[in-house]
Symmetry: C2
Subunit: 505 residues, 2 copies
């Protein structure tokens, strides 16, 4: 059995393994502020890749970026009733605007108390809706397709880096349309763009569907979701796209004059992906040596580690490595120049190699005097740590690099898909089976813990929750490809839907 870089391993303690990956890959760390994290350069580089890809998709579909205030007056939250219920709970509340020195200690100045408290935005439907109401006059102003990249705050009690932090980063799209069908098309367009990101770039297979009523966004008529499976069998919602009907339009008075001259409320949508995606990435592909990055997402696809032990060969090795990097850089994979880095830091080669393994770089090359003699490279494939290093010739390696990156990209996706399919139970037909399947200890090893159950469902939220909540299970989504047969697995009542049940992050 090979020794792994991380302790604990996934099998030993999955939640602690997750934290260990973040530390080993130097992606983020806790800050001195409760529930807030510091995103370090490697974590941020991954987020920048996601941003750049999503931003391109958003612009290619006609959306425009803007920016709205971080603060939302408290009264705005009271405007949409369901939104209040869902959001107006755990939020950061600004009540003062000045500090004073009181006996050598800074305290909020009582004289600076705000007439109306301000909320640090947990989401921006209300404040963006206000701006929409000003912007939209007639049908000519529709559709209005806005997006912003921003930080938001939700005062979570139990936080985990990337997965659930008090402050997180996201894009939030907000659009207004003349008709319900146009608005619903928008939510599907976005869901598909997210699918493209998550499957084709991040190599995580998704299940497309809609949320059941109790899991919908507060104020939404319909919430579309992209559900992913982590290696411990839990579900993680990787993106959402909401049809908000006319709820926010009525609450915020967002109206337009039709071509015929009548005045109507618009139909709005909102949609988001967040830094949570980085948590999904870690848990979908990571292994006991650290992060595993699909090449299309990786900030660096190839890292060259020179072996500089032999001082007399140092100059020759560095020259060879520089030449190699210069030959790799013009290669292209998936429409982009290959991202290659020469790691010439003053550290042991073995330390550097393991640094990059833990950071998940797809291809790591080690170059020493022996490789130069053979005009070759020593290749480590991050997706196959069990496999041995290979030693192709230099030009053979370069010529085959795009194909190699593609093979790694596809292999990582195939592995995740295989896991998702193998742990998707469609054969569970009774409540007794269901209960016994999920009634495993939460501490069961990550690869034997329960996965997803796909089964017929009544849609009776209250009766369902009463039975499944104790198992820590919830309705994750109603997949688009519905296949209803028999009665509800939970309540025995006639089935209205097919649903996916799972534990979730």
């Amino acid at each position: 059995m090979s020794k792994s870089a991380l302790s604990p391993t996934r099998a030993e303690n999955y939640p602690e393994w997750y934290q260990a990956v973040i530390k080993a890959a130097d992606m983020a760390e806790l800050s001195g502020v409760r529930g807030c994290m510091v995103i370090k350069p490697w974590g941020w580089a991954i987020w920048e890749r996601i941003q750049s890809i999503v931003d391109g998709m958003i612009k290619a579909t006609g959306h425009e970026n803007c920016y709205f205030p971080i603060f939302i007056p408290l009264s705005y939250f009271q405007k949409e009733a369901e939104h209040v219920e869902g959001f107006a709970k755990e939020m950061a509340v600004v009540t003062h605007h000045r500090l004073i020195n009181q006996g050598g200690k800074l305290v909020p100045d009582p004289a600076s108390k705000l007439d109306e408290p301000l909320i640090v935005r947990p989401t921006s439907e209300t404040i963006i809706g206000e701006a929409m109401a000003k912007e939209i006059q007639s049908y000519r102003d529709l559709p209005l397709l806005w997006n912003q990249w921003a930080n938001v705050v939700r005062w979570e009690m139990r936080t985990r880096m990337f997965l659930r932090s008090a402050e997180f980063l996201w894009q939030e799209g907000h659009t207004a349309h003349a008709t319900e069908s146009e608005a619903r098309e928008e939510t599907i367009l976005i869901q598909k763009a997210y699918q493209d990101l998550i499957e084709n770039i991040m190599a995580i297979p998704v299940i497309l569907g809609a949320k059941s009523e109790s899991e919908r966004f507060p104020g939404a008529v319909d919430s579309l979701t992209l559900e992913t499976m982590m290696q411990d069998g839990r579900a993680l919602q990787a993106g959402t796209s909401h049809y908000l009907g006319q709820n926010f339009a009525r609450a915020l008075d967002i109206k337009y004059q039709t071509r015929e001259g009548s005045v109507e409320y618009v139909h709005t949508t909102s949609w988001a992906v967040t830094t949570r995606l980085i948590g999904a990435l870690i848990m979908a592909h990571g292994d006991d040596d650290g992060l595993v990055l699909p090449p299309r997402l990786a900030p660096q696809q190839v890292v060259i580690v020179p072996i500089l032990r032999d001082e007399s060969a140092r100059a020759a090795v560095l020259e060879y490595c520089n030449k190699l990097a210069a030959e790799i850089a013009p290669q292209s994979y998936a429409g982009e120049a290959v991202r290659v880095k020469l790691d010439a830091r003053d550290e042991e080669a073995i330390t550097k190699r393991w640094n990059w393994i833990k950071k998940g770089v797809p291809v790591i090359l080690e170059i020493g005097p022996k490789d130069i003699e053979k005009d070759g490279v020593a290749v480590t494939r991050r997706d196959d740590m069990a496999g041995k290093k290979t030693f192709p010739g230099r030009s053979e390696f370069i010529a085959g690099l795009p194909a190699l990156l593609d093979e790694i990209q596809n292999g990582i996706f195939a592995r995740a898909l295989k896991m998702q399919q193998s742990r998707m139970r469609t054969d569970i037909k009774t409540w007794a089976e269901f209960e016994s399947y999920f009634d495993k200890n939460e501490d069961s090893a990550y690869d034997t813990s329960p996965g997803f159950v796909r089964a017929s469902w009544s849609g009776d939220e209250a009766a369902t929750e009463a039975k499944i909540k104790a198992l820590g299970v919830s309705v994750r989504c109603l997949p688009f490809d519905q296949n209803i047969s028999g009665n509800c697995i939970i309540t025995g009542a006639p089935a209205k839907y097919e649903a996916i049940f799972a534990r979730a992050y």
Copy 2:
């Protein structure tokens, strides 16, 4: 006299003209939150251009992006004494983390009061310093070159869009170095990168210098500045780069082990440019028809407006315009593909033309049936609204486009430089002359209001302030190219510096 698009004009009311440009170019608007603005798509597109250029410069010089929490515990501010004095005043203070429903009204839940209030970051030296202290162990970890793109909040009493808003956006670089000289070199490197952005991209000439003691960043040993002149003669600090000495290192215990084994405090720097640059852009180049964008900065460099009055010619006009756009797009200027847009919106051509004039697009083409007949284009140059439209042939226009854009870029810079030089008084030698020069009514027309005075100065802050504050004047900077002669123009004491005096934003 030609009629202008904006009312009031610069001469009529400069401050109101500024707001009129923002509205006419649809760049931003006030929000329902005191002092916070909504940055609309055109304003945001300009900020994205600035971001992308600055981000490229930051990365090219070896800096890495990261992200730090938006909240800073109150106690952190107390750690650096001068920093407290300078910053711990007007800030947004979070005191509660939950709302409750009290008789149908949401209020902060008294039970959710935080033990320690959190400050919405006005700047991040303290929280990033905390992370640096963890990150840095030895000389091998230096220099540490971090940057973040973030929003910050300073509770300003009198706000103006872009120039001074409660929330604004910026990049803040924070670096740590082994020695003072390395840290000082860093601040100069960054000042030069900012100069490149502001002069070569934004076409605004800068004066490089250092701040006098009273104008320094709170906690800094030295603050470098880039001062620009607006069309009303006022100064605007367009960027800053601070050498912080070991002040924050001592306060936050940021130490490293030297190669020789001793333990030393690091030397830190911080530096920033902000959305304020957009205010500078408006006031440096804008005219009575709206915004004027230098081509290298402009989100769109060429906009094509089809004239579609004649329904029978509509298809032919659109086809010609599409072909024209396709021919322009592969042209390259300043190392980038030309940014061209065909505005096929369902509006009058004249309305669209004026839309783009107000938005400051460098080159606007109008294409109607007559232009097609001549295989030509009708060209409006935004930098020369007094000049007539020209009507070159299509291929002649395309072949000359890079040169035309360059001419516009250089012309805008030359005009701003000429203004800066012509309003830089070096001939004022006595306090009486100084007082009389600045003792003009604040409402004097923008182009006859006082500019900059460059003169010898004692460096006596208190005595100087006592005399110049009443004139609304301050010491803007000590320019790098010092030329001291005679006594201090303000106090008559022996001169230690040459300084630039001006009113400022």
